[in-house]
Amino acid sequence: ASDDQPSGLALPAPRNAQWSTNEPVNSWRDITTYNNFYEFGTGKGDPARYAGQMRLDPWTVRIDGAVRHPVTLDIDDLRKLAPLEERIYRLRCVEAWSMVIPWTGYSLSHLLAHVEPTEDAKYVVFTTAVQPKAMPGVQEGILDWPYVEGLRMDEAMHPLTLLTFGLYGHELPAQDGAPMRVIVPWKYGFKSGKSLTRIHLQATQPTTSWMRAAPQEYGFYANVNPAVPHPRWSQATERRIGSGLFAARISTQLFNGYAKSVAGLYQGMDLRRDF
């Protein structure tokens, strides 16, 4: 899937202009050959090289925990649960590069409403697929597998948080998190778990994979914030992928430019401490 043209089954959906940026979109090639998906290795090209080995069919997702109607849904049922729409989001990686990507999906809130969270549902935990035979990185033990990420309930219910099935109007390529992932555009990319197998609601804040691996470097919130540097590099600027060898770096925006929509979620919080 490293061709220049979108490939895979078509997944047409109207564009949601309200939640889309007008910035130039990155190429299919950039988005599908430059990935962090450590289950397949730490090299940026590893996911494109190996993710094709992942078994995608059958694929079911368990949604359970603090919900009134725990369910296990097939990927086809999940795709039909709410109307799909295309949204062009900025994606800011914690490694200080960024892309602009046309995703297809619907707000995660639709799915969460479907299972009816209880009063205990304070956090959402995303668990991603582990297929050791198909995933060379899993055997190397870079992180504790499966990869676990999480959001606070209000973050998960925010309309920007996208349950994502497609890219460029086609089904997600394996290296981009097929068949279903989450996209949280105001947070660093690693918060947006790929190839989800379970969505669990609970009362306590989960310890995510990166918090476990390097707690001093990766916090639970991981909001894009130019004022809070990573211990090993500045987050003040970013390199927009595809802008050319001699393009200047661009300034990183607070909450990746989505501050108007999401800053309210963090009122009264010290974003330096809760990084």
Binding site: Y34, A214, R232, S234, R239, G242
Partner: protein
């Protein structure tokens, strides 16, 4: 400090203008002086009865070996540059060519520095004294890629903003460590000429021991860069190789001094 001779050479033997090493060390030992009169690039013994430099002559077998090895060293040294150009032409520098080039230049600087450090052990194990004549080339290629690595970081990672570079040096430990390594390498590159060898005499050897802290700091920089991602395979590979390269020197040094 032991000076070079065919059978009892220090691991840090200065290569000088290679074929007259023996004459040079004799001069240093006998007069304890840094002054060397002869700047002859041709072997003392080899030149006896030979036409003057510049006059066409039949090369000896070892002469051909020398030129073949010299060519190999240049091909090795220029390979990364050629590879980048080909990859750039074919669109193979990944979606993030800047990062690819920053990292690739660092990796090749490391590989060439390790190759430089491998010359002495290989020479001693193989008994091939002529190898030392290629060490400076390797060292200068290592420095060349180090300079490219620093320029790439300065322009692409720090946007060419001096204040941003300065802040990076102090805020980020692995950058500071890398900068120290570069500081160790600069005087080595500057004093790599015959003129500086002559002027510094035996101090040249002492000065060039800076290559050891430079190597240790470089691999530390690499390891630290990968820390937090728990992706240590490559840094550890280089660290182990360096441990071997330094380990044999320590063993040889200990044997020489505690016989």
């Amino acid at each position: 400090m032991p000076h070079a001779s065919r059978h009892n050479s220090s691991t840090a033997t200065p290569s000088l203008w290679p074929d007259s090493t023996r004459a040079w060390t004799c001069a240093v030992i006998s007069r304890n002086s840094c002054v060397v009169e002869s700047r002859d690039r041709k072997s003392d013994s080899g030149r006896q009865g030979q036409p003057p430099i510049g006059v066409p002559q039949r090369r000896s077998k070892s002469g051909y070996a020398h030129y073949a090895l010299s060519l190999c060293v240049h091909l090795f040294g220029l390979f990364p540059l050629a590879r980048w150009l080909v990859l750039g032409y074919l669109g193979g520098l990944t979606a993030n060519p800047q990062e690819f080039l920053i990292r690739s230049s660092g990796t090749w600087a490391l590989a060439l520095l390790w190759a430089t450090l491998a010359v002495t052990p290989i020479r001693r194990l193989s008994g091939w004294a002529g190898l030392v004549r290629h060490r400076r080339k390797l060292g200068l290629y290592a420095f060349f890629y180090t300079v490219l690595h620093v320029i790439a970081w300065a322009l692409w990672d720090r946007g060419g903003v001096p204040a941003s570079m300065w802040a990076d040096l102090w805020l980020r430990d692995f950058i500071g460590i890398g900068a120290l390594a570069v500081l160790c390498l600069v005087p080595l590159a500057v004093t790599s000429t015959h003129g500086w060898m002559r002027r510094l005499g035996r101090w040249w050897t002492y000065l060039h021991w800076l290559v050891y802290p430079a190597a240790i700091l470089s691999v530390w920089h690499f390891d630290w860069m990968r820390a937090g991602k728990n992706d240590f395979f490559e840094p550890h590979l280089y660290a182990w190789a360096l441990a071997v390269l330094l380990g044999v020197r320590i063993v040889w040094w200990a044997r020489q001094h505690h016989r």
